[in-house]
Each structure stands twice: as C-alpha cells, then as structure tokens.
C-alpha cells in the first residue's frame, strides 16, 4: 500500500506535466477529499441498515443453521480436520458466519479452526481454510449492495447471482491451485 501511494502520486505528477493537465490535477486532490466527505453520510445510511439486519439474523441463529448445513461439504474439503470434533465445529462456524457476511464472527471462529488444524497436524489443510476465507462466499453481498444503494441504484441487490457465480469460480480456482501446489511439493 505504501509503494502504491507513492507510485500513484509520482506517476500522476509526471503525467500531468507531460500532458499539460496541471490545473486539473492540482485541483483534483482537494475535490477528491470533498467527494469522500459528501459520500460518507449516504454510505452510512445503507451500512447501518444492513448491520441492523445482519445483527438480527445473527441473534436469530441463522449462522448456527448454516453451520449445521455446512458440516458435510466441509468434511469433504477438510478430511483430516473433520476428524476432530472441535475443529470441525470451528470450521462450520467460520463458514456460516462468512456466508452471512459476519466478518466479526467469522474471524475468531476461523482462528480457532486454524489452531485446531495445526494441533492435529493437518497443516496442509490450513491453506484450504485460508483460500476459503479469501474467496468470500456470501449469501447477500451487503457491502457492495450498500454502496450501490447509497449511490442511487434502482435495485442494489440485482448483482447477487453474479456475485455467487464469481465467488464459486474464484473458490474453485483457489482450491485447484492449492491442490496443484501441494502435489508439486510433497
């Protein structure tokens, strides 16, 4: 991130000098800050609404229901981890919270699962857990939809099927990559 910021600023200055767009570039920085501030209250409305709904879902036990449904598919992904009851329940809790977009609940469960995998010497499955968590499969893409809603989208959630499809493909690619990398080095 540090490198990205320095590179972008220096390249922009250089490019503004080359293209002669120095006035526009000079004003752009301040305009950007103002736009960020104007955007914040609109984003806030959508974020608060969805946080309230996910809080209700969490207290309604939706994560537990999902965790129960996920037991079997996760046992296939983590053959060693599933052998340990404690680890399996942490894994299902992590995946259930991820599906609901409950990042605050997903991380502690995921960390417990990671520790469990190490304890039972299933370190290779730790990579699978990480890939599962970086692929971000969500039932409702609340953050992306909140952004769209705050910018006046007609139906903010209509991207949901596209998000599902994309997450599934990306998860499959990640799992295949882990498989290939494991195969090449063991």
């Amino acid at each position: 991130m540090n490198l990205a910021i320095i590179t972008i600023y220096l390249l922009s200055i250089l490019s503004a000098l080359l293209t002669g767009k120095t006035t526009a570039a000079g004003n752009a920085v301040m305009e950007g800050v103002q736009e960020a501030l104007l955007f914040a209250p609109r984003l806030c409305a959508a974020l608060c609404l969805w946080s309230a709904v996910t809080e209700l879902l969490e207290r309604g036990g939706a994560a537990d229901v999902l965790a129960r449904l996920l037991r079997r598919p996760l046992s296939l992904l983590f053959p060693k981890g599933a052998g340990d009851g404690e680890t399996l329940s942490a894994l299902t809790e992590n995946a259930g919270a991820n599906l609901l977009g409950l990042g605050n609940a997903a991380t502690p469960a995921g960390i417990r699962a990671a520790k469990g995998l190490v304890r039972i010497r299933a370190g290779a499955e730790l990579n699978t857990l990480v890939v599962l968590n970086t692929a971000s499969i969500q039932l409702l893409p609340t953050t992306a939809a909140s952004l769209r809603a705050s910018l006046g989208s007609v139906s903010p959630f209509d991207i949901t099927p596209a998000v599902w499809l994309t997450s599934v493909f990306s998860l499959l690619a990640g799992l295949m990559a882990i498989r290939l990398l494991n195969g090449s080095r063991t």
Binding site: M1, A28, V33, L43, A52, N104, V130, A173, I178, R185
Partner: protein
C-alpha cells in the same frame, strides 16, 4: 413477483426480526446494536475514503490513464475486462478499505447501474483482502506460511476479476 422484489428490504427486515424474536432476542436492542456497528464500520473506513478518493481523482485528472491506456487497452480488451477497474483490481488484495473506496469512486462516476459500476460491485463483493487474511490466519495459528497460500489466493482473485467482468458483460453488457 415484482412487488415482492420491490419490497425486498422491508421483507428481509421483517423476516430477520421474526427469526430473532423466536430465539428470544430483544429486537430493538439488536437492531440498535447493529446500527451502532454500521456507524463504527463507517468510522473505520472513512479515513481510507479520504485518502483514496483524492488519489484516484489525481490519477484520473493527470492524464495517466490515457497515456497508459494506449499500451494497456489492448490487453484489457483481449481479456474482456473494463480498463477502468484496473486500479480496483490492484488494490483489492492489499487493502479492504482502499478497494472499497476505489469501487465507490467507480460507481459514483460511472453510475451504480452502469456496466462498469456493476463490474466494480461484483469484483468487490466476491473477493477478500487476501494479504490480510493470510497474515491473520498464519500468525494466529503460530505457523510459518509455507508459500502456497499467497499464490493460491492471488489465483483465486484473478479468477474472480475475470469472472466478474465476463458475467457482468453477459448479463448487463
């Protein structure tokens, strides 16, 4: 069906409230607690918005995209990915809040219902801050990263971006 889709938000709130009530939760208390979390989320991403928005504005105004575009456009065209999403894709694995800011900027400028806006939303919604996730999990588990998680996660991210662009073009292009 159309009426139901239009009533999606109140329906979801009602369903979630009923489920919570059946589990004996105090609905009002839960909703205000949730709203408080929303405020905290905004508070935690606002600094990133304030840093990333001006950066993107400067980049756009400097004419660099046009200069680079001549070189990169054929590559993006070939892959079928809108070239405007280049910066978002670059920031996504590095920083969650910076990516959120970059995606918001794209949606704001091109419209949330435009092809570019939708592509940005799908890219954002179906990926995670891979570097952060990897760091958190390996340090919490107390083991050294064996060097496989990062390439696998980046491979997943790349697949995510390409699929997002293709699916959006197919559905809304």
């Amino acid at each position: 069906m159309k009426a139901l889709a239009q009533l999606l938000v109140p329906l979801l709130v009602a369903a979630a409230a009923l489920a919570a009530r059946m589990h004996g939760a105090d609905i009002y208390e839960a909703m205000t607690a949730g709203a408080r979390k929303g405020l905290l989320t905004l508070w935690s991403i606002l600094p990133a918005l304030l840093v990333v928005f001006p950066m993107i504005r400067l980049l756009e105004a400097s004419g660099l995209p046009e200069l680079l575009g001549a070189v990169l456009r054929p590559v993006f065209r070939l892959l079928g990915v809108p070239e405007e999403t280049g910066l978002l894709m670059l920031l996504r694995p590095l920083s969650g809040s910076a990516a959120l800011a970059a995606a918001s900027e794209l949606m704001q400028r091109h419209g949330p219902d435009s092809l570019i806006g939708r592509t940005a939303a799908v890219m954002l919604g179906s990926s995670e801050t891979s570097l952060y996730v990897i760091a958190v999990y390996f340090s919490a588990a107390g083991v050294r990263d064996d060097g496989r998680a990062l390439p696998a996660a980046l491979c997943a991210d790349l697949t995510c971006f390409l699929t997002a662009a293709w699916v959006c073009r197919l559905l809304w292009g």
